[in-house]
């Protein structure tokens, strides 16, 4: 079926030059097997966009991808693109290395053609062809956008699967090892120049982070990811609506499409192997499915997986998730050490349920503590009380900082509110002379001119000069009709008194 991919040999060469040979082969096999149609893809909006964006924005990470585990109708499970967030390095020294050298119009055109091809091959329609909307495609974007079309069988070998099956985070921070973990995406990854890639297993999938900066392992980042995707980074300001419940557990609706439903189902575990206390909720903390953010604030909604199986209902989803959990989740094989505390002392097993529930509650609380440690810098001591104390002072510090900055901003934005300009107004027979005077640093030159424009005033002369060391005088004359002059004066005064 490779005929679908290119119509001639030149095409093949072009595509391979962009994606690399390995990636081409991999994607072709995926496309021709029509792999995606075999998966029960749960929902288009997983509500993780905000979490991903939180991870990427303001950090050194260039992108974050949530690989979602789905169960195949023909048996087995796989990780497919769930959602992602990508940030173009514009500020900072972290420039896109290769594309910085030879990014030219021609190359962009090629890249866009390849993306369009991929889009078509995986069944995308023409309307949602995001490639056309792009003006230029950086190498990072190229890597990110092609990643959307990948999926990894759980019996294959690659970074995300490895991490998911072992239940352990993988942190690779040198370029060569990165290549190995990117597997078939290695070519593009090398082009971008990723130095660090991280896979973090979370409920229902794996989160992948990548950056072109070499970043040593940080447990706090892993904890942060786990918190956002496992414990639920929400329940805060934005989403306070009560979730409907099913089986006594929370049920989060996916985005605006009320038909696509995520069940948060916490299966009973009889033995305490694995993570008995992890709640499997993935709270809805955002909307949109795939996002590219850069300085131009372009957002993409590629609407991937266009041929997913429709018409599933909540029940089938539950069993689907349970299936995938059951057949492919030896997450954390080794028993948790349970270092302290009373020995089990299980004389009877009558109240085992209560014990288990309490265990889960404690574990949940501890997860929160770990997550809190991850976001609070300068933890003085490692015990819980100190942590809380540090968190509190940190919060109040942040609050004051924000307050200070906000007042600063207000002052900066409305300098005239602290120094209303003096306005002399002399009406003459056919025109008027206006003389505005105010401190140098806060002269609202743009404000003056915008006010002109708003009232369709044509300034004939417009002279600025300084007097008294720190005052600026702006003199201009305008054409007026009778009566307009006074009106304008009032308008100007009003405009600059805010």
């Amino acid at each position: 079926m490779s005929e679908k991919f290119w119509v001639n040999v030149e095409d093949k060469v072009v595509v391979e030059s962009v994606l690399g040979t390995e990636a081409c082969q991999f994607l072709i096999s995926l496309a021709s097997d029509n792999v995606l149609s075999n998966f029960i893809t749960p929902a288009r909006d997983l509500g993780v966009q905000q979490g991903l964006s939180k991870l990427v924005e303001g950090s050194n990470w260039n992108y974050a991808i949530f690989w979602q585990v789905v169960s195949s109708k023909i048996g087995g499970s796989a990780l497919i693109w769930g959602d992602g967030h990508c940030r173009n390095p514009k500020e900072g020294g972290a420039a896109d290395k290769i594309s910085g050298e030879d990014s030219n119009f021609e190359k962009d055109v090629v890249k866009k053609r390849v993306l369009e091809k991929l889009h078509a091959c995986f069944g995308g329609s023409d309307e949602d062809n995001f490639a056309k909307k792009l003006d230029g495609v950086s190498d990072l974007e190229m890597f990110y956008l092609t990643s959307m079309y990948y999926s990894f069988q759980l019996d294959s070998v690659c970074g995300p699967v490895e991490s998911y099956k072992s239940g352990k985070a993988i942190w690779v921070s040198d370029a060569s090892s990165c290549s190995h973990h990117y597997q078939s995406r290695a070519f593009l990854a090398r082009v971008v120049g990723f130095q660090t890639v991280v896979f973090v297993p979370v409920n229902s999938g794996v989160v992948e982070l990548g950056t072109i900066k070499s970043t040593p392992e940080e447990q706090s980042i892993v904890d942060m990811v786990k918190f956002i995707f496992t414990v639920g980074g929400s329940s805060s300001s934005q989403t306070t609506k009560a979730f409907p419940k099913i089986f006594g557990h929370e049920l989060s609706l996916g985005g605006s499409n009320s038909q696509s439903v995520n069940i948060n189902f916490s299966p009973k575990v009889e033995d305490d192997s694995g993570f008995p206390s992890e709640s499997y909720d993935l709270l809805a903390i955002g909307s949109s499915n795939g996002c590219r953010s850069d300085s131009n604030k372009i957002e993409l909604f590629p609407h991937l997986n266009p041929m997913i199986v429709e018409g599933f209902n909540a029940q089938s989803r539950v069993s689907g998730v349970e299936l995938s959990k059951d057949d492919a989740l030896p997450q954390h094989d080794e028993r948790k050490p349970r270092k302290r505390g009373r020995k089990p002392a299980n004389g009877r097993e009558e109240p085992l349920n209560h014990v288990e529930a309490e265990r889960q509650r404690r574990e949940k609380l501890n997860q929160r503590f770990y997550a809190l440690r991850a976001v609070v810098p300068n933890i003085s001591k490692m015990d819980k009380a100190s942590l809380l104390g540090d968190a509190i002072t940190y919060i109040t510090d942040l609050q004051t900082k924000i307050r200070v900055m906000e007042t600063e901003k207000q002052i900066a934005n409305n300098p005239q509110q602290f120094s209303v300009p003096e306005i002399d107004f002399h009406s003459r027979h056919e025109d008027a002379v206006v003389r505005m005077s105010c401190p140098l640093d806060s002269h609202p030159i743009s404000g003056v001119i915008k006010t002109f424009r708003e009232h369709q005033i044509l300034a004939q002369e417009s002279d600025v000069s300084t007097v008294d060391n720190d005052k600026i005088v702006h003199t201009f004359s305008i054409k007026t009709q009778a009566g307009d002059a006074e009106q304008l004066k009032e308008k100007l005064l009003a405009a600059f008194s805010k």
Copy 2:
């Protein structure tokens, strides 16, 4: 001894017109009894300034005062001025009502004279007479500064004492009740127009908050105060030094004066009445003793209590505190409810120590939780796990907010770095014509003119006009000597390329 206070009748009338009759009498009796010399005043810097400022700055509170409990050498205890923080309402609608009407120079002079008088009466030297440093005295400042000279015997009746003895916070949010609780300070309080006053009992004293805004009771504020003054709002970034220990408990040194020592002593309580788990540490989180903050950033160090007993040592302090705790601290008389959990079941009393320690640990943790609730807005649910989750998302939200604002600020500060102006430069025989053009919003008008001044350039003509809707063109001609023209052009370009 009222002769000391005024030399003639007119003086008395003047002082009474400022302070009110009642306050005058009260202060005179204090001054003449030389009350302060009877107290064992522990340290000049209590290290609570930062805590007080944290409470006041960025809130609606106009001031915060820490009334410190001290034991008298002649028996009994009293609350005396420990430290305070006062914020002048400049922004916001909360203007100083009365002084807004008739604040004039003459009145300020009178106020300052009264303050000087008070200062002298209570033994202040001339050098540390802060009144002279003030340019004007608002009514709020008048109230605040005179409060410094107050002290309240624990057998008297007034807001701070009431709160301290009962161990309960007092929250009064209407003007008339406020007056009652201010007692002898009521006159000045009315002048300022306080609508709300709060007394929060903390270890070793009472914190008083006041505001001219009517503020309904908020437990979170009380919790916050208790956290800062009881649990210790520090242990964060700024103070990470290890405290020396005494009796296995933390010992916080007071400020820079290593002679003045605060002992954090957690007395053993045999029954669990009261607050058995409160640790009596008052961590050092600041320095300075009394602070007035306003837009002019004047800070006062009045060095009150100039005749305190010197030469006390750590031991005497401990006993002093214990004494005051013992004879006047039925703090929280009613037994703590202990609603849930296993019943005591005290068969033996051998491991009672361990049990007690664990109790204290739990209580400390809970105090932190309460305090955390106080600083995190929008708590979704009241349970601990949700609280932690909310706190985490709140922190990350604040962090991103700060990040965003910081980048915004950078952009705002250097607009030219994003739009280097075009500069046309035409050198003529005796002068030069410069034409600068750049986007309207970022026109560095002040920058241009400052550059002129820096290089002693006299602009002969200076005309601004707009073209193309969003560009501003600034044309000016300058006198030049030979060779200067090119140099100026370079200077201008350099200045605006940052």
